[in-house]
Symmetry: C3
Subunit: 287 residues, 3 copies
């Protein structure tokens, strides 16, 4: 609309284009491998899970499988988004952020930290699916499932906000603290509520394994955030990214494998009553 | 913050403003009519559907109507967003994209393809409502409804990512292939699972019609994407947009009309048992 | 990518950085207090609600509490987002908008209206939780809950679109009218459908109070929009923001307090049948 004479002094906010970020990622072998390896592993996990669950008949067991399958599906899209530059950005940190001295990169005229913020966005979609699978395995009631999932989403969204806040260092850590507080609610359901349900349902053996795997892995995510380029910047971007990618491999694909291996046998503890999940309003046909 | 002397060479990322896009759309009769016609039709469909369903009493029949009503409600907002320039952009395609030679436009200093990306975003909201209505009509259980809707949303979101990826031509088609793969799961539920449920529920007559209408229309969307300005660029932007708008008219408003015409009679196959959908915890009152 | 010689005339779209907006907010005492006061009140509400509900046992009563708790949780994140500048912007209004003469500010080179658009985004998350709590208190069936929540989300998203549309004054008010129309559906459920359910459930005393509180407060929000800087610009930005913040205090924290005070006694009208909300498929254990 308005044109400025070039002789004026103009403040410019330069941003790296998607293509420049895509090429930057490709040029950093450690960073690139942390993303492309997970695209491949997510794809293979989808194929493996579908194959493992191929003979399943029971609708409740199939719901657990469907929830589990969401995890690598979201992961495949998430890592493709990160690798393409669509959900990766170069963010200028607020004054006083430790990344300013050392972890800054220059990409296409933009100077800042490589932020793989798409991770936090997509965790808001994949982690509820993990909790749904765990809750169904444990035989949770609706209240506990609602509570765990709502606070989990709140944890992921505030984690995303922490990563995207560039105005104030104090607010970045305020978001981080908020996210961790919501995490405590999720941990409470995982460690106190659902184990009791699982014992009653008869799934305590597999639930115990999955609970420890999930709790230990999930506790490591905020630690990586705090130590990584977006937090204290003690780890460089490639190591930060591989730390998340490694956690994802265990917390998502190994987790899913264990769930589906258990469910594929259709043990009585996960199968349904007659009429389970029916959305029909008429009396069930007597076939 | 920082000011640059105008004598420096500065890389600039120019973007068209919302107002420039709004005016560009208004200036292209074919494109503008494809959007404004659907604003009018979505509005009329809402009024028609509410009027057709005015005497309905049964809660399950009313849930099917409510789900169906979501479709033109989302459409009304979606097309208003596209026409206003809020969810329309001028995107520079990656090198090698066929639109670079021929389908590029210049809007307010930005050069690229007119991308009506808001369509893909809002499909993630309207198509689950279509599947909810279809699943309830068929008498689907919860597992199949969850599976169809989750893979449908994954299909729409990865379609949106395909449209917004400007860093790599290969990644655009990788997203497209991912989206089509998720579509296969939706097709499986529509063509194999739900017809069997509908036969048992006694809604196979109307479900058969709606199934064919939905499958044929939905198959055309990725074809339009592949042939349109965002894919192989064989169709110009106005024709691409009208192709989607025409599909929407049949797959959304005609579809909705057929659903509500069937449900408005409250046939026994769609009505509820006593206590259907009750969220109360106390024993039902015996009135 | 491409560099332009500085002697060319370049159209520039200047935007305020997140940090500049954060600092602008801090510098306006009225505006800043409207945000930081709510961060504190939302945090205190969460602590108070958790403490009030500490002894609760019944799963249905706990679901109502969990839904109510979502409201200050979302509020805490929402106000932190506004204060940080993450979800606040400086928007140039379309020609003819009354804010152009008088309500414009200049922040970091950008000239426009201070838009706290994050409010509308987060209402799409908090208001469904309010309706869920109200619907469960009233003993609503699934159809009415679905209808109220879907039209409520449509109301919030189109309100967000109204705030973000800068291309046309007519379209801003078209969005506003659309949003108000969807609001009518929510009002119908609140004023006609749920009171009848509540009378049957035996919660009409508390529901009557909460209904009037909610309806009166919620009716004021669009009035503030219309009179505020984003509408007719009769109120300056600080007053507009405090009007919303004051409404939030009553419609969210006082509302939540009343809900939880009622539910904490676990009256028979809100507690559950045996097996309420069970997601397990096996027959309930007879303990």
């Amino acid at each position: 609309m308005s044109t400025l004479p070039a002789t004026a002094f103009v403040p410019l906010q330069e941003a790296a284009s998607q293509r420049e970020i895509f090429e930057y990622v490709l040029g950093d072998t450690l960073l690139a491998s942390s993303l492309y390896a997970n695209i491949a592993l997510a794809g293979l996990s989808i194929l493996l899970f579908v194959w493992m669950a191929r003979g399943l008949e029971d609708p409740r067991a199939k719901l657990i499988v469907a929830a589990t399958l969401v995890v690598p599906v979201v992961s495949l899209a998430s890592y493709t988004g990160l690798a393409s530059g669509l959900t990766t950005g170069i963010l200028e940190m607020p004054p006083g952020h430790p990344a300013v001295d050392g972890a800054y990169v220059t990409v296409g005229g933009a100077e800042g930290v490589v932020s793989l913020w798409g991770r936090y966005l997509t965790w808001a979609l994949s982690t509820p699916a993990i909790l749904l699978a765990l809750g169904l395995l444990a035989g949770s009631n609706l209240t506990k499932l609602f509570t765990a999932i709502v606070f989990d989403i709140a944890m992921c969204v505030t984690g995303l906000a922490a990563a995207l806040t560039t105005s104030s260092l104090a607010l970045r850590w305020f978001w981080f603290g908020m996210s961790c507080t919501f995490f405590v609610v999720v941990l409470y359901v995982l460690l106190v509520e659902w184990p009791a349900d699982a014992a009653e349902t008869g799934t305590d053996d597999v639930f115990g394994t999955l609970k420890y795997l999930t709790v230990v892995m999930w506790l490591a995510y905020p630690v990586v955030w705090a130590l990584g380029v977006e937090g204290l910047a003690l780890l460089p971007v490639g190591v930060t990214s591989w730390a998340y990618s490694g956690l994802d491999i265990v917390a998502k694909y190994v987790f899913g494998f264990l769930v589906i291996r258990y469910v594929a046998d259709e043990p009585a503890s996960v199968t349904a009553d007659a009429g389970y999940g029916a959305t029909g309003g008429v009396a069930p046909a007597d076939d």
